[in-house]
Amino acid sequence: MTAVSTQDAPERVRRPELVGLAALAGAGVLLAAVGARWFTGPLAVVALALVLAAIIWLVFTAVAGGPEARRRIAPYGLLKPGTLWLALFYLAPLVTLLRLSLSTLPSRFAVEAEFSWEFQNYVDAFTDFGPQFQRAFLYAAVATVLTIAIGYPLAYVIAFRGGRYRSLLLGLVVVPFFTSYLIRTIAWRSLLNDNGEIVRFLDAVRLSGLFESIGIMDNGRILQTPVAVIGGLTYNFLPFMILPIYVSLEKVDPRLVDAAQDLYSTSTAAFRRVVLPLSMPGVFAGTLLTFIPAAGDFVNAFYLGSPSTTMIGNSIQDQFLVQNNVPLASAMSFVLMAIITVLVLIYSKYFGTEDLS
C-alpha cells in the first residue's frame, strides 16, 4: 500500500495542484469579467455556471478527495472566498474603470462611453490637472505631518499618563466623529466666517496682522484659503492618526523605559531610542490611513476652499458628476491611484517597519 502510493503520488498529485490553481484563477477571472459586464446575457450565465462548477469541484475535492489530493487542493479551497470576493468587488470595478478610462463619448451629451483605446484621456489628465494633483499631494502631506504633530503627543499622554481615564480620553477623541463628516466640515464654514467669532477674536487681540504676515490669513479671511483646506483635512483625519499610534504606544512595556534609564539613559534618549521606534508601526499605519484618503478628498476643498485651492478629488468629482465626462474622470482616478501606489511603495521602502516586527 505505502509503496504503491509513494510511487503513484507524484503523478496523482502534480496534476490536481495545477488544476486547482487554474480553477481558482479561472473562476476569479470569469467572475471579474461578469462583474465588469464583459459577458452579458447567456454568456454570463455560462460563465457563472463555470465559476459555480469550479467552486463545487474544489470543495468536493478538498472534502472528499484522497488524502494527498486533499492536502494539495485544500489551500485553494480556502483561498476561494477571498479570491472570488476580490475578483467581484475589486478586480471587476477596477477593470471597468480602466476600460472607461480608455473610452470616448461619441457625442457631447452621450450617456454611454465607447471603448476606443483613447490614451489621450491620460494625456489630458496629466496636462490639464497638474496643479490640482500637486495641491492634492501637498495639502495631504502637510495635513499628515500636522496630524502626527498633534496626534502623537496626544496618544502618548493618553497611553502613558491617562491612568484610569484612558478609555474616557480615547472616547473623547472619537466622540466628535459620531457627527457626520459633512456636517462637521460645513460647521467650520460658519466658525471661520469672515465676520465670525474666530476672525473677530483674532482681530480683537490684534493677531490678524501677524497672521496675515505669516500667510495664515489673507485679506482678513481664513475661510477659502489653503490654510482652511489643510486645517479641515487635519481636523477630519486626526483620529485616524491618533488611534493607531495609541495602539502601538499602549503595547510598549513601561519597564523597557525603566530598563533604559537603569542603563544610564536620559529620559529623552529613552524616548528616542526605545519608545519612538516601538511606536513607529502606529505612525506608519496612521500615515497611510491619513495620507491616502486625504489626497483624494474633495469635501474639505469644496466647502473650505476657493477656485484656486481645488484638489484632484474636486476635479474628479466635477468631471464625473457635473461635466459628465466619465472617461476623463476615470483616467484621472487611475492616475491618482498610480501616484498614490508609487508614493506608498517608496514610503514603505524607506520608513517601512519590517525590521521591527
Binding site: D194, R221, S315
Partner: protein
C-alpha cells in the same frame, strides 16, 4: 426653505376631494387615470381630460387624488408664512391636487448632469415639471427629452407676455411656458464694500481680493462682464468675440480675486459678508435683504443680462392634467401677482402689475420687477449659439469654474 405639502384647509380640501372623487368615480374616469399613471411610458394616451376646457382660475381637470411634482429653483415661489398662504398651498386647496414642490435647482449644468443619465437612457425622471433656464430648454428640446405641454388645457396661457410668445429657444412654443424672467447684475454687501458700487469694474478692485463671487451660469457671468466691455451679447457668433471676458475671469481667478463660483447658493455668503460682491440675480437680492438690509443690487450702467426660466415637462412625465391645472393656476394674474410680490422677479404673466398695485403700490414702480423703457434698453439676452460654438463656450467656462 423646503416646502411641505400639507394642505392647510384640511376640511375644505378633503370635502372637495370626496366630492370630486365621488363625481369622477361615478363617471368612471378615475380608472383610466390610474391606469395611465401606472403606464408611464405612453403618455399620449394618458390624458383622458375629463373636461374639455376648464374655465376660470380653479380648473377641475384631474380631480382629487391627483399628484404633481414640480422641481424649481430656491426662493422662487411665495411660501406659506407670516399668515399668508403660499401659492402651492392655495393651489392644493383650490384643486385638491397633492402637490410636491422642491427646490432642486442650483445650477443648470449641475441639474442637467443629474437628469442626463436617466433621460439619456430613455427612462423617466420623477418630477412632472421642471424649470430650467431658456438655453437649457432649447438643449432639452433638441435632445428630444421633453414632452409637449398640454397647452390646450391651460386657458390662462393667453396671459403670456407678448415678447415671450414663440421664443427663440422654443420656436413653436409647445414645449415650454416661462416661470419667471429677470436680470443678472451685481449683488453686493454694503457693510463689506463700505461704499456703493457703481460698475462691473468694481468687482476687480484689489481691495475686495478673495471676496468676490460669480455665478456658475456662463451666460450671466460672461454676459455681465462682456457688457461691461461694451460687447453686445445678443449678437455673439464666435468664441473670439467673447474671449476677452473669459480672459478677464481667468485672470481674476488666478489673482485670487474670486472666492467662489456659485449657483443659486450664494445667499449666506453675501448676507454674512464672505462676499463683498458677486454676480447675482435681481430677485434674490430682495430675499437676502430680509436677512440683511445692507445687501444691494446694482443694475450696471453697462447693462444687465436678461434671462427666462421656463416650465417644461420631462419626457414621460405622468401627471399631465395636474401640470396643466398648475400652469393655469400660476398664469392667473391674481395668483401670479402673489408670486411676483414675493419673488420680485419679472413676471411672464400679463396683468400682474395691476394686481401687484393692489398688494403693494411701491412694488409696481420697481423697474426691476416692472422694467421701464430705459431698463429694457440696457438689458441684453445672450445670443443663441450654434452647437459647436456653444460647446466651445462651455468648455472654456467649465475650465475656469470647474475644479
Amino acid at each position: 426653505m423646503k416646502r411641505s405639502i400639507r394642505p392647510r384647509a384640511v376640511e375644505l380640501s378633503r370635502r372637495q376631494f370626496l366630492i370630486r372623487s365621488g363625481v369622477l368615480g361615478a363617471a368612471g374616469l378615475t380608472a383610466p387615470q390610474l391606469l395611465a399613471a401606472c403606464g408611464g411610458d405612453d403618455d399620449d394616451t394618458s390624458a383622458p381630460s375629463p373636461t374639455d376646457a376648464p374655465s376660470g382660475s380653479s380648473p377641475s381637470a384631474g380631480g382629487g387624488g391627483d399628484t404633481l411634482f414640480f422641481e424649481n429653483w430656491p426662493a422662487y415661489i411665495d411660501p406659506t408664512e407670516d399668515g399668508l398662504t403660499g401659492t402651492v398651498d392655495r393651489f392644493m386647496d383650490a384643486t385638491g391636487i397633492d402637490m410636491r414642490y422642491s427646490e432642486a435647482f442650483n445650477d443648470n449644468v449641475e441639474y442637467f448632469a443629474k437628469i442626463q443619465p436617466v433621460l439619456g437612457r430613455g427612462d423617466t425622471i420623477e418630477p412632472d415639471l421642471i424649470a430650467p433656464t431658456s438655453w437649457m430648454v432649447g438643449r432639452l428640446i433638441s435632445l428630444g427629452w421633453l414632452d409637449t405641454l398640454p397647452i390646450d388645457q391651460v386657458p390662462n396661457a393667453v396671459n403670456l407676455r407678448d415678447d415671450l410668445v414663440n421664443p427663440a429657444w422654443d420656436p413653436t412654443g409647445e414645449f415650454s411656458l416661462p416661470w419667471q424672467t429677470g436680470f443678472a447684475g451685481i449683488a453686493y454687501n454694503l457693510d463689506v464694500t463700505g461704499r456703493e458700487l457703481t460698475s462691473v469694474d468694481d468687482l476687480w478692485d484689489p481691495e475686495f481680493a478673495g471676496k468676490i463671487g460669480a455665478l456658475t451660469e456662463m451666460r450671466d457671468t460672461i454676459g455681465v462682464i462682456l457688457l461691461s466691455m461694451g460687447v453686445d451679447i445678443s449678437t455673439l457668433e464666435t468664441f473670439e468675440q467673447a474671449a476677452p471676458a473669459f480672459e478677464k475671469l481667468e485672470q481674476a481667478k488666478a489673482d485670487g480675486q474670486i472666492r467662489r463660483f456659485h449657483g443659486n447658493d450664494y445667499f449666506d455668503d453675501l448676507s454674512n459678508g464672505n462676499f463683498a460682491a458677486t454676480i447675482g440675480w435681481s430677485g434674490d437680492v430682495a430675499q437676502i435683504q430680509l436677512d440683511n438690509p445692507a445687501v444691494r443690487f446694482l443694475f450696471p450702467e453697462s447693462g444687465a443680462t436678461s434671462w427666462a426660466d421656463a416650465m417644461v415637462m420631462p419626457k414621460g412625465a405622468v401627471n399631465r392634467d395636474a401640470a396643466a391645472a398648475w400652469m393655469d393656476f400660476a398664469y392667473d394674474p391674481v395668483q401670479a401677482a402673489q408670486i411676483t410680490a414675493w419673488v420680485q422677479y419679472v413676471s411672464p404673466v400679463k396683468g400682474v402689475r395691476e394686481e401687484v398695485e393692489k398688494i403693494d403700490p411701491e412694488l409696481a414702480d420697481n423697474p426691476l420687477i416692472f422694467p421701464d423703457e430705459a431698463t429694457l434698453a440696457a438689458t441684453r439676452s445672450f445670443a443663441t449659439l450654434s452647437e459647436d460654438v456653444e460647446a466651445e463656450f462651455d468648455a472654456a467656462f467649465s475650465r475656469i469654474i470647474g475644479a
